[in-house]
């Protein structure tokens, strides 16, 4: 194994899984710079484990899980969730909200932004990544029941907020 081939393999792996991981990080954090940092950090952790490399699919799972966990712990420590909501609201407002459809979408954005980080992670994994409850549980390393109750609470909060605002 030469340096260049090892380097290329890393590069290929990063190019293959990085973009998905970055979108996931962005959806959970709502912050460009933070999501870039989180993905690099998550990639270092997962690629640093030799065993994780043997199977591309398991690499993707590990990376996804690491991104979510890092994002959650970062948000928990830094309390930047409010900034997330603000960022989303301002980015949508800047785009110019006109049609009724856009108004609803804007409301949904805001509602997602105001969810607690853990609930937001579950919502993103379910509605963006299209994972089943069981898969979400294995990504997050949570019991199935916690996933179900988080999803239920998130859906209730979204409905309530959208019902009030929409």
């Amino acid at each position: 194994m030469s340096d260049s081939s090892a380097g290329d393999r890393l590069g290929v792996l990063y190019a293959r899984h990085g973009p998905d991981a970055l979108r996931l990080a962005y959806l959970i954090t709502g912050d460009h710079e933070l999501s870039e940092d989180l993905v690099q950090e998550a990639f270092i952790k997962v690629a640093g484990r030799l065993t994780a490399l043997r199977n591309a699919d398991s690499f993707r799972w590990y990376l996804r899980r690491t991104v979510v966990n890092l994002a959650n712990s970062y948000l928990r420590h830094r309390r930047v969730e409010r900034a997330y909501a603000k960022g989303l609201i301002s980015s949508a407002a800047g785009a110019g909200v006109s049609s009724p459809d856009m108004v609803t979408k804007q409301a949904v954005r805001e509602a997602i932004g105001r969810l607690p980080a853990r609930q937001r992670a579950v919502v993103v994994l379910r509605y963006y990544e299209d994972l089943t409850d069981q898969q979400i549980a294995s990504v997050l390393g949570w019991p199935l029941g916690s996933v179900k109750s988080s999803l239920y609470r998130a859906a209730a909060a979204l409905r309530e907020r959208l019902g009030q605002e929409g």
Partner: protein, 430 residues
């Protein structure tokens, strides 16, 4: 509410489209991955095959201790651990394998060390069963018989014996503990809690302090070395060094311990347990050995790729690094290892193998710090030990299931000796 579901999916898709473009993987990130992988190699080597830095350290400690005593060659025996359940003694005078000593079915053996008087060899192993039940089996070297195993902590990965021969220290990687065993009675004392994932151990020549390096989790490298006061068997205040320590060696005068980590070697003053200024070496030093006169420490690094395996000599008087010596051009499959002849003239470095290249051991002339021609050995070479008289170096070949003797006078490999499956550690007694 199907409508909400669809709306959420649509909004999240829109949001995802606003995600930034993927920035390139930074060189710093690549470097951190390499360092972590090296640590992972170390850990898996320890967990699976038992190629522990501690084993090498144990062997060195043994060789040093044995030096002070007469060592009639006809009695000298090399004990080779099979990856499974046997220990094969090799009579060094004739380079013949004696009947293997069976330690019981289904056990993983991973580290061996012998008492300074050469009467007993202690073999650390785990299993049978998934619980990683750790045991240490004493072997009476006079008769090559196994005594009753002593219970240790789970997953013992390294073992060292105090130079006064009174206590065996067994490092239990998964339990974060070190178990002392009294050699007089072969009984285990209460385990000593150390840092997360202890990996290797080295003991000062006065037997007063054992230094344990810890590997930490995959996510976070620790940066400490834990000293253990052997009189009370308690852990002392941890010493901060660089991240991801991988190997440790102590000078024969006992004044300094050298700890290899990420890309440096940190000297520790043992009198005060304080870390001195780290010495920069090539990336990922994974083994370290010190000449018997204490003048030079040799750190073996495997940065991977074109740089291959390099050895950095460190002048201990000034703690300065001399120019590195390249010994191999490929990334080793196994953990590199190093052993120095008792007269200090030659260091033997396992520089591993690549997919194309054959495994080799490179002798380094310590007087001039130059590499001599590599000596081809079997496949999967991983551990090395030198007889007390310095005439023969033994290299275990994990993949070939053999041990290659190297005649140090001529630096030629003799015919390999067949031993048990996956030999991974070796200790020589007189």
């Amino acid at each position: 509410m199907a409508e909400l579901d669809e709306m959420l999916a649509a909004v999240l898709r829109d949001l995802a489209a606003e995600a930034p473009a993927l920035p390139p993987l930074s060189p710093k990130a690549r470097r951190r991955i390499r360092v972590r992988r090296a640590a992972a190699v170390v850990a898996s080597a320890v967990a699976v095959a038992g190629i522990a830095a501690g084993t090498v350290v144990g062997v060195q400690a043994l060789t040093r201790a044995a030096l002070s005593q007469a060592s009639p060659r006809h009695l000298t025996t090399a004990y080779v651990l099979g990856g499974s359940d046997t220990v094969t003694p090799i009579r060094t005078a004739t380079n013949t394998a004696l009947p293997p000593i069976d330690l019981g079915k289904g056990r993983g053996l991973c580290a061996i060390a012998s008492t300074p008087d050469g009467k007993t060899a202690y073999v650390a192993g785990y299993g049978p069963g998934p619980a990683f039940l750790g045991t240490v089996t004493p072997i009476r070297t006079a008769t090559n018989t196994a005594l009753r195993p002593v219970k240790a902590g789970p997953g013992p990965c390294a073992i060292a014996i105090t130079p006064n021969g009174k206590t065996v220290y067994v490092v239990n990687l998964p339990a974060d503990t070190v178990t002392p065993i009294r050699t007089a009675t072969n009984t285990a004392l209460p385990p000593i809690r150390v840092g997360s994932r202890p990996l290797a151990i080295a003991i000062t020549p006065d037997s007063k302090t054992a230094y344990v390096i810890t590997r930490g989790s995959v996510a976070r490298c620790p940066d400490t070395v834990t000293p253990i006061g052997t009189a009370t068997n308690t852990a002392l205040r941890p010493i901060h060094v660089g991240g991801c320590p991988t190997a440790i060696a102590i000078t024969p005068d006992g004044k300094t311990a050298y700890v290899a980590d990420g890309s440096q070697v940190t000297p520790i003053r043992t009198a005060t347990n304080t870390a001195l200024r780290p010495i920069k070496v090539r990336e990922i030093p994974a083994a370290i050995a010190i000449t018997p006169d204490g003048g030079t420490a040799y750190a073996v690094s495997f940065g991977g790729g074109r740089r291959g395996v390099t050895v950095t000599p460190i002048r201990t008087a000034t703690n300065t690094a001399l120019p590195p010596i390249t010994v191999g051009r490929t990334f080793p499959q196994n953990f590199p290892a190093i052993a120095i002849t008792p007269n200090g003239s030659t260091a033997y470095v396992i520089n591993g193998s690549g997919i194309i290249h054959q495994d080799a051991v490179t002798p380094i002339r310590t007087a001039t710090n130059t590499a001599l021609a590599p000596i081809t050995v079997g496949r999967g070479s991983c551990a090395i030990a030198i007889t007390p008289d310095g005439k023969t170096a033994y290299v275990t070949n994990m993949s070939s299931g053999s041990v290659t003797p190297i005649q140090t006078a001529t630096n030629t490999a003799l015919r390999p000796i067949k031993v048990g499956r996956s030999p991974c550690a070796i200790a020589i007694t007189r």
